[in-house]
Amino acid sequence: MAFDQDAINEQFPILSREIDGAPLVYLDSGNTSQKPRRVIDAMSSFMENTYAPINRSSYRLAGEATDAYEQGRIAIARLVNASSPDEVVFTKNATESMNLIAMAWGRANLDKGDVVVLTEMEHHANIVPWMMLVQERGIQIRWVPLTADGQLDLTDIDTILDGAKVFSFTAMSNVLGTITPITLLCNKARAAGALAVVDACQFVPHNVTDVQSWNADLVAFSSHKMCGPSGIGMLWGRMEILDAMPPFLGGGNMIDTVTFDGFTTAPVPAKFEAGTPPIVEAVGLAAAVEFLESVGMANIRQHEMDLSRYTLDTLNERFGDDITIYGPANVEQRGGVFSFAFRDLHPHDVSQVLDERNVCVRAGHHCAKPLMKTLGVNATTRASVYLYNTTDDIDALADALDSATDIFGF
């Protein structure tokens, strides 16, 4: 299927918004993505026509609502090639999915001295839940270091994984854009007897995903970064892993029965979905998956590789030694996330100047403070692209960066 840029962009109402008479240049999709018309319409239409509780009431409307909610699960299973929709658990966001793993699997399987392996380029969501188990259980964390160009340094990986119980790593860094060798890492983890956990939050929205071919055990990702609504995240897991895990949150929907003496749990995935879930959001998510499928994940990846090449070339050609772009230079090894240092300007000041021209980027530590320490900075400016971004957006970014020089005179 052809990648029709105009047809795609027409589907995003916010892209026609102007601020102070000038168009929006949204380069913060690594943070959160914009929403196409069909997602917005699916959610409004569901609330206008079909909204009701799910899994609880026996009237027809509730049955329709339950079916609509489950369509979200079916769509996600299709998108990531799960062997069954039952392997898809809905959470609040990818952060909650990571916490679910650490708290439910971790508490059942990790004790004092047990080793969890992380990499130096993890998001706080894949660091802090494990550190909570360091405090609570006395587990240990080992870190996979990075190479100078921001890839995982796998020289000593077998030693690092030796005796580990968990290897939890990002599929794509939210700071460096680095895409990791996911299947290789899952294979190494499982060969070492460790649980293979993948933070695929940045990867799934932009690439063809196949959790089965990855040989992963558990994978976390979120809706809001893939054109779906905020408020719903996903945990995919191999059924035998999910089945053996104790529940995370307790309450309604997750039980089989409750007596004065105790409770038994519902089967997966309900076991992990306590309380009323994000119903409307699941409906919007299904529409987002259908939208992405209509464009084609391989086409989206190709578009972003082309745009990444243009971005790296443009910024390096125009600014030379004045700009340092972190992460791999080869677009085959990275996604469309560009963290950079610009002259001696602080990222806050850079983003302030860019905002003057409606160029939206993120400035800060990107919830990856340990990585900032490895890079030797406190913060970076980050531009990140998605299927609706074009070379015009990158030119606008470069022009706006030029104007920063005028103000600060560096």
């Binding site: 806050h348 302030q352 530590h365 406190n378």
Partner: protein, 154 residues
């Protein structure tokens, strides 16, 4: 949208390019660390208090040094603050912290009426920050850290 010239006044850029009172003080000087968890910026305030004329509100700031790193707003605010506080009594410093936070539009302070008469001098240049609400945290970071240092002194 307010223009960038409201934010990046010349006096602010001057303090950013040439920060005053940068450095460290050895113990027994007081040391307080402040962080902006949103952006990762950090500021360290070192205070040397002279208690020969009195303690509490009557102690005097004999020396003040600023460490850490941050954006033009947080760095210039810290630099101007250090200049304005040198030689002031703790009572005067606390009044100026209240006055500055009021200038930044932070409400709910038990501001004393006489605070309104305080002239913050160059620091008044930072009032343009109020038009850029996300940057208020940058401007007050060093002030909160100074307040924390004074609490440690008590």
């Amino acid at each position: 949208m307010p223009g960038l010239e409201d934010l990046y006044r010349e006096i602010i850029l001057d303090h950013y390019r040439t920060p005053r009172n940068r450095g460290e003080l050895e113990p027994p000087a007081i040391k307080a660390d402040g962080h902006n968890p949103l952006c990762g910026d950090d500021i360290t305030v070192y205070l040397d208090l002279d208690t020969s004329a009195g303690t509490g509100d009557d102690a005097v700031i004999r020396d003040i040094k600023i460490g850490g790193q941050g954006c033009s707003i947080s760095q210039s605010s810290a630099s101007m603050m250090s200049q304005a506080m040198l030689g002031k009594s703790v009572g005067d410093v606390n009044a100026r912290i209240r006055r500055f936070k009021t200038l930044m539009g932070i409400e709910g302070l038990d501001e004393i009426e006489s605070d309104a008469d305080i002239d913050l001098g160059d620091l008044e240049a930072l009032q343009g920050v109020v038009k850029f609400p996300v940057r208020i945290k940058c401007a007050v970071l060093s002030w909160n850290t100074l307040a924390q240092a004074l609490t440690q002194a008590e």
